[in-house]
Amino acid sequence: MTNNLTEFATDADVIFCMGTNTSECHPIIAMHMLRGMKRGAKLIVVDPRKTDMAKKADYYLQIPVGYNIPLLNAMMNHIIKEKLYNQNFIDKHCVGFDYVKYAVKDFTPERVEEETGIKASVVREVAELYATSPASMFAYTMGMTQFVDGTSNIFAISNLALITGQIGRPGTGINPLRGQNNVQGACDMGALPHVIPGGMVMTENAQKQAKKIWKCNLNAEVGYTMTDLPDNIESGKVRFLYVFGENPAMSDPWTDHFIHSCESLDTFIVQDIFFTETAQIADLVLPAASWAEKEGTFLNTSRTVQYLPKAIEPAEGLVPDWQVICNIAKRIGLYGFDFLSAKEIWDEVRKMAPDQFGGITYERIIEENGLAWPCPDENHPGTPIQYTDLKSFHPDGKFKLIPIGYVDGMEDRLAYEEKTRKDLDLPEGYAVGCGTMSEKPTKVHPCMFTTGRKVYHYHTGTMTRECKALEFGADIMGPVIEISTDIAETTGIVTGDYGVVENKRGRIAAKVLVTEDMREGTIFSTFHYVEAEANKLSNAQDKDPFSGMNPVKMTIAGIRKIDEKEFKEIRNEHDQFMHPSEEYRKVREV
């Protein structure tokens, strides 16, 4: 996030939520938003599902799955037509306004109405509201990024925030709400193929820091992404895999392909606190101490480093994950793994990236209840709001506006990019984005299938399903397939029936809930439950050209009603199972 999450409550005048089911996934952030509304802030929600927040919103726009860019572009089209942009901000701090003008010119609010039924007047109103309010804060989550055009979606958001100057002040900014507790930390610590603490691997600074502190030559070539892994294993490019604290056999899109590819590894190591679905297929399983059993830090969605103490002793023989990793490194004979405490590791991070973390000591984190980076020295107060000086990270300090289009199919993307480059005579290396649907409904698979989470559970359920209050809490129904009313009509399925959702990748069965809260033609399920795992159907072939992300949020599928016998047969296909007790297996009432 560019800003702090508490500013929803204290500063924002307009809160724009796109593709975030905030009250289910980030309940406490939703609380801050609702406090903001009490103060008088207006809430705009854009989502294919009529979520809790959508029901509370001043404006709710029910877009089709994946219709993000056309809507954002239409808002900018109106803002430009009515000259509601911030001319002063654009002149002083941005480059590429003409590119945006070019890219959005065909996206009128009327076109949105034609294509989706959302009233053009509503598109105009929310555009005006966002552009003209003293402070507009944009929030989004995976609902924006898990598409083949995820990065273009984010460019479009950034274009909107920049041309209206809604950045660099309290209650503004571009704010991704992080799903997992330490996504921000994992990225900042270099758990990515292209970056280490200290910068991108090919940069001079990263090379210099690695040489100075790690005493090694850093490979300047970007590594493989997770999404390429199954193919890289099958072609023999990866022979040794070490998975730490994750459950990709369940969370990875197209899980069967991943599981199958793992059979060809020479060595497969899994380190986890439970015997997860992934651990069960490993060659070596390494247990470790869990949260509450070790000291360290997390980085939350507002870039704030927070401290966790060791509250209890782990079972005999268990040590923190970092110690397991260091022990392996030392046996290999590697230099620089003689850490005696988590604090010593953190102090090395501070040396690796001094501009970002130099002033963030354990003592200060504890004393000041968390500190936001960048914080270059020990007298620096930290940076809860980024870009207050209105300078970007680019050398010239200007923010780049990126032309973002939208085309009919995957195959048209390249042509769009080429034409845009030519028409605008873009400088070499300037980005062009383009959205599209990765798959379109067909006769056999006429529905759009999308995934998400529920308030009680978290990710693949490894942890939450081990907590009785959560697994068997008040209105937990176990896995459910939700369908829109039009699908119910054409298929004759009613709430409580068994249904099977299938496409060319796999199938899942569960009880069905018919809901009026979803846009027509949409099927939804969660990925918490191994017995009906939504990611079995997800598209892991198509990729975002910028990030390598798979379009997990969008795939085509069909649904049909089945009887109890067939339901049980399908359930029994999934034998890999971490939660073996009968209670977990039992079919619960909808």
Partner: protein, 139 residues
């Protein structure tokens, strides 16, 4: 009874929790009063999501896939000593890099684990010449 102020292990909000500990067992979680992030509130996961720490299904011993007492892809997972586990991990990583190349090894790190753990994990790969490190942020 002891009280520890810590951070929720679930979503990226990073709510602060006061954990109440008795005889080395967590007995209760409460929102940290007056903390800026969650100002005295927690969602259900923060309030009740700690029980897994004491689950009987936690694993405590390393396991290696073996057949007739030696490592085999076709074997079954058997409990082994830490010594054997570390030796196996270290020698396999080393030999893969020597026989093939540094880019033939890959690691998945974790967005659920600590900064310090993510840092040493990626360092393990990078000092050996591999940038093949990623995590599940994309999911």
């Amino acid at each position: 009874m002891k009280k520890f102020q810590t951070v929720c292990p679930y979503c990226g909000t990073g709510c602060n929790i006061d954990l109440h500990v008795e005889n080395n067992k967590i007995v209760k979680a409460e929102p940290t009063k007056g903390h800026p992030v969650n100002d005295g509130e927690l969602c259900l996961k923060g309030l009740f999501g700690w029980e897994y720490v004491h689950s009987p299904r936690r694993i405590t011993k390393p396991m290696l896939r073996k057949k007739d007492g030696v490592f085999s892809k076709k074997g079954k997972l058997e409990e082994v000593s830490w010594d054997e586990a570390y030796d196996f991990a270290a020698s396999r990583m080393k030999s893969t890099i020597e026989e093939y190349s540094p880019t033939h090894v890959m690691g998945f790190s974790s967005a659920r684990c600590l900064n310090e753990e993510n840092y040493v994990f990626q360092k393990l790969f990078r000092v050996q010449g591999s940038n093949n490190v990623d995590h599940c942020a994309r999911l």
